[in-house]
């Protein structure tokens, strides 16, 4: 086998791989859109589900999903800021930093159902809260923490030291530096991380399916101790009726809606990140 032959072989393999991968991914997205588009209508999005989801729409599922992730975001943001500031300002030994960062990244790799089981044992059984959307938000917040922390940490850490030195030279204390110098510039990183984490959290099923959700009869929750219905768990229920054409149709519609929400968050994150890169001056 001549070098040229091997080279041509490799080139074709590479191009073929890219083509296959592209076709698969495009096919995936197109399937969701094509199958889901017929189900989408204003009615679908604003009407409550009926008849096991085979009829009606997904209004309360959308509301449930949004409420859960919104509250989860509120819970996790202070934590993420705190941990990332701790890592960048209060931890001085590089060794310690590496360990803590590895710990965070490892937390990111924990299977999502593990969080669900933890929520079940700790909150639902242990603390006796029962099926509660708020517990679901807490669990989602725990899942979102590593992503947001890492993103915020990277942004704050990459603020050149000279900013801090200038601030200290002017007599600002550490907390003043944090509030007036670091946080304003690190905020973008936090928001980007938040959007990425939201995109992931809104699509999660396993952590919340047995601690926060119910199937029918739920509307907007009136207390902390109630279940909600969310898009991913609704899709799960509909997928189990895959041979009922209406249910399946609604399932695709719900999947498309979920995709659109995820895409919205992801795209916003991307745009934010590029704006951040462009807007960063020194």
């Amino acid at each position: 086998m001549t070098r040229q032959f091997k080279s041509r072989l490799f080139n074709s393999a590479v191009v073929a791989a890219l083509l296959i991968a592209t076709c698969v991914m495009i096919g995936l997205i197109m399937t969701i859109f094509i199958k889901g588009a017929p189900a989408i209508s204003l009615d679908f999005i604003t009407a409550p589900a009926q008849n096991f989801g085979a009829g009606g729409g997904i209004a309360y599922q959308i509301i449930g999903s949004l409420i859960m992730v919104a509250v989860a975001a509120c819970l996790v943001m202070p934590m993420a800021f705190g941990v990332s500031l701790y890592l960048s300002e209060f931890v001085t030994s590089a060794h310690m930093k590496k360990i803590l960062l590895t710990a965070l990244l490892t937390l990111n790799g924990v299977p999502s159902i593990t969080f669900g089981i933890f929520g079940l044992i700790f909150f639902v059984y242990g603390l006796g809260t029962g099926i509660s959307w708020f517990v679901g938000s807490i669990i989602l917040a725990m899942m979102m923490l590593p992503t947001i922390t890492l993103s915020t940490y990277q942004t704050i850490n990459s603020i050149p030291t000279i900013y801090r030195e200038n601030a200290y030279a002017l007599g600002m204390s550490q907390s003043q530096t944090i509030w007036h110098v670091l946080l304003p510039q690190g905020f973008h990183g936090a928001v980007t991380g938040l959007l990425i984490a939201l995109a992931r959290a809104i699509g999660e099923t396993a952590p919340i399916m047995f601690i926060a959700t119910a199937f029918s009869g739920v509307s907007a929750p009136r207390g902390l101790n109630e279940p909600v219905s969310t898009l991913p768990t609704h899709i799960l229920a509909l997928a189990q009726q895959a041979t009922n054409p209406q249910a399946l149709q609604n399932g695709w519609g719900a999947a498309l809606t979920l995709m659109c929400l995820v895409l919205f968050f992801s795209l916003t994150a991307l745009i934010f990140r590029y704006k951040l890169q462009k807007g960063q001056t020194l």
Binding site: Q50, N51, F52, I67, A70, V71, A73, C74, M77, V124, Y125, G128, G130, I131, F134, P184, Q185, F187, V191, A214, F215, S216, G217, V218, S219, A220, P221, R222, G223, L224, E226, P227, A237, Q240, Q241, A242, T243, N244, G279
Partner: protein
């Protein structure tokens, strides 16, 4: 620019937070009844809940599935007000929740039918004996041709062990409600899922409740000991010929709220029982043996 962005994002956050906070703190003038359990009973409860809600706007009924096992265990732990079950409560469960008084309310009757894919049914396999079905589930028979059907491998669909439907079925077929089905190929959960899998296959056998039979999922008739054929029809179930039957029950404890008990009386009333038969089950009054045939008029 940063200030403006921050202001916008900050206000979105505050809005979201206060919106959720407000909804969370709204005076609960609304009474909540949490119901969960058998996926067989759920269609009745879900439909009845929609009707009930129309007349009782101050009561919220939240319905979940999960299986009869989940129903009784959540009820025992006090997480729900009403547990739906498609089998009787086991002594072990009475034992487990000793401090509670379970009140069993029957709201209908149902049969568990051995079902097969329509292709096999149309090819001639329309009735089987108990021991043949047992042999299939134990893995001793694996091809439909041994039973007079087409030459296809049998896809044996089993259910999760905690499901009431399975326990009732296995009690009759294998003689042991927790019997192991060595010949099983798939293990599924709710009635919905089983129906889906049976429809997707053309050589499957499974177990479903009466209300889920349709053109793609045909019920087998049972050839009983005396040679009589019991059809999976409403008449044979009502007059007792078809042997695999169970009461559909809802269970409460002494801690269940009065709204819960009110909903249960609705279920037992004429309006509720109409829903039972519309969903495909057998209402209380037409069954020959029922534990409470007091169907009062509710409205």
């Amino acid at each position: 620019m940063i200030i403006t962005t921050r202001a916008i994002l900050g206000s979105i956050f505050c809005f979201a937070f206060s919106a959720t906070g407000l909804t969370a703190c709204t005076a609960s003038d609304v009474n909540k009844v949490a119901i969960s359990g058998s996926s067989t009973v759920m269609p009745i409860i879900a439909t009845a809940a929609e009707d009930y809600r129309a007349h009782h706007t101050d009561t919220r009924l939240i319905v979940n599935a999960g299986g009869s096992g989940v129903g009784i265990s959540q009820l025992g732990r006090g997480q729900i007000d009403i547990g739906m079950m498609s089998r009787d409560i086991r002594p072990k469960e009475y034992e487990q929740f000793k401090g509670l008084d379970f009140t069993v309310h029957a709201i209908g009757r149902d049969a568990v039918i051995p079902v097969i894919s329509s292709e096999v049914y149309d090819a001639g396999v329309t009735h089987l004996e108990r021991k043949q079905i047992a042999a299939i589930y134990r893995g001793e028979i694996s091809n439909w041709k041994d039973l007079g059907g087409p030459d296809k491998e049998i896809l044996v669909i089993d259910k999760e062990a905690s499901r009431g439907t399975r326990q009732v079925f296995m009690e009759y077929i294998l003689g042991d409600k927790d019997g192991l089905a060595k010949g099983a190929d798939l293990v599924l959960g709710s009635n919905n899922e089983e129906q889906t899998a049976l429809t997707q296959s053309d050589s499957a056998i499974g177990m479903l409740s009466l209300a889920w039979l349709d053109d793609d999922v045909r019920g087998l008739s049972l050839k009983l000991e005396g040679g009589q054929i019991a059809h999976p029809t409403l008449d044979h179930v009502i007059d007792g010929t078809f042997p695999i039957v169970r009461d559909l029950i809802v269970v409460t404890t002494q801690n269940s709220s009065s709204e819960a008990l009110d909903f249960i009386s609705f279920l037992k009333s004429d309006a509720g029982q109409t829903i039972v038969s519309k969903t495909g089950y057998i209402p209380l009054s037409s069954s020959s043996s029922s534990s409470s045939s007091s169907s009062s008029s509710y409205y």
